[in-house]
């Protein structure tokens, strides 16, 4: 049933480690790190929840008919987009949350996906320099 559980668990685990490193780093490098830490936790948790919701959407969409899947995936994307908008507005309005940290937390999971699934593949780098006509 849940085909993506292992992939989700792996990515969320790495994201948690990255967030922990960033939080510890902010305690070391900033004089008043609390707002940055709040932002990282807020953004990171919403990013993880968004990713889980995306996985659920994709698992359900592939079982639908193509037209239904198209509408379902698009509607769910805009719901997630609205949630992200609310999160960003809250972090911009609230003084005790650093907006930049929220953005970093929200985008950290995308960065993890790129690093663990694309940039770790040697073929990706080879294909950049490979001549297309050969």
């Amino acid at each position: 049933m849940n085909e993506t559980f292992e992939l989700q668990a792996k990515i969320i685990k790495i994201n948690g480690i990255l967030l922990c490193i960033l939080i510890v780093g902010s305690f070391i490098f900033f004089e008043e790190p609390l707002s940055f830490v709040y932002g990282l936790i807020f953004g990171g948790l919403i990013g993880i929840l968004n990713f889980i919701q995306l996985a659920k959407t994709m698992e359900k969409a592939v079982r639908m008919n193509p037209a239904g899947a198209q509408a379902y995936a698009s509607i769910n994307y805009f719901i997630r987009f609205a949630i992200m908008a609310v999160v960003l507005i809250v972090s911009l309005k609230a003084d005790y949350i650093n907006a930049l940290a929220t953005v970093i937390g929200l985008l950290s999971i995308k960065f993890i996906i790129l690093v663990t699934n694309l940039f770790n593949d040697k073929e990706y780098y080879k294909n950049i320099f490979k001549r297309k006509e050969v």
Binding site: P66, A69, A73, Y77, M84, L88, K93, A99, L107, L114
Partner: protein, 88 residues
């Protein structure tokens, strides 16, 4: 009629810019829907490959969303934390 102040002009242009930046949020929605539709077609044609299709689609969709978030961030910064007003 009162003359237009620099601050009012910046705010008006920022609002227009924020609206234009939000257009970036539409693209990933359409693209993700299109990918989901094609994924459903693929699973219908080859049901045993469902796991691979869903995993690949999940990673692609998660990365594709990023550009929409960038547009959202630009729009919200222009609206709620405009750095240009401080330059006046």
């Amino acid at each position: 009629m009162e003359p237009i102040t620099g601050r009012a002009l910046i705010l008006a242009c920022s609002a227009i810019g924020a609206g234009l930046a939000m257009i970036a949020g539409i693209g990933p929605g359409i693209g993700q829907g299109y990918a989901a539709g094609k994924g459903a077609e693929g699973v219908g044609r080859q049901p045993e490959a469902q796991g691979d299709i869903v995993r690949t689609m999940l990673l692609g969709a998660a990365v594709a969303e990023t550009t929409g978030i960038y547009g959202l961030i630009v729009a919200l910064i222009l609206l709620f934390a405009n750095p240009l007003i401080g330059l006046l």
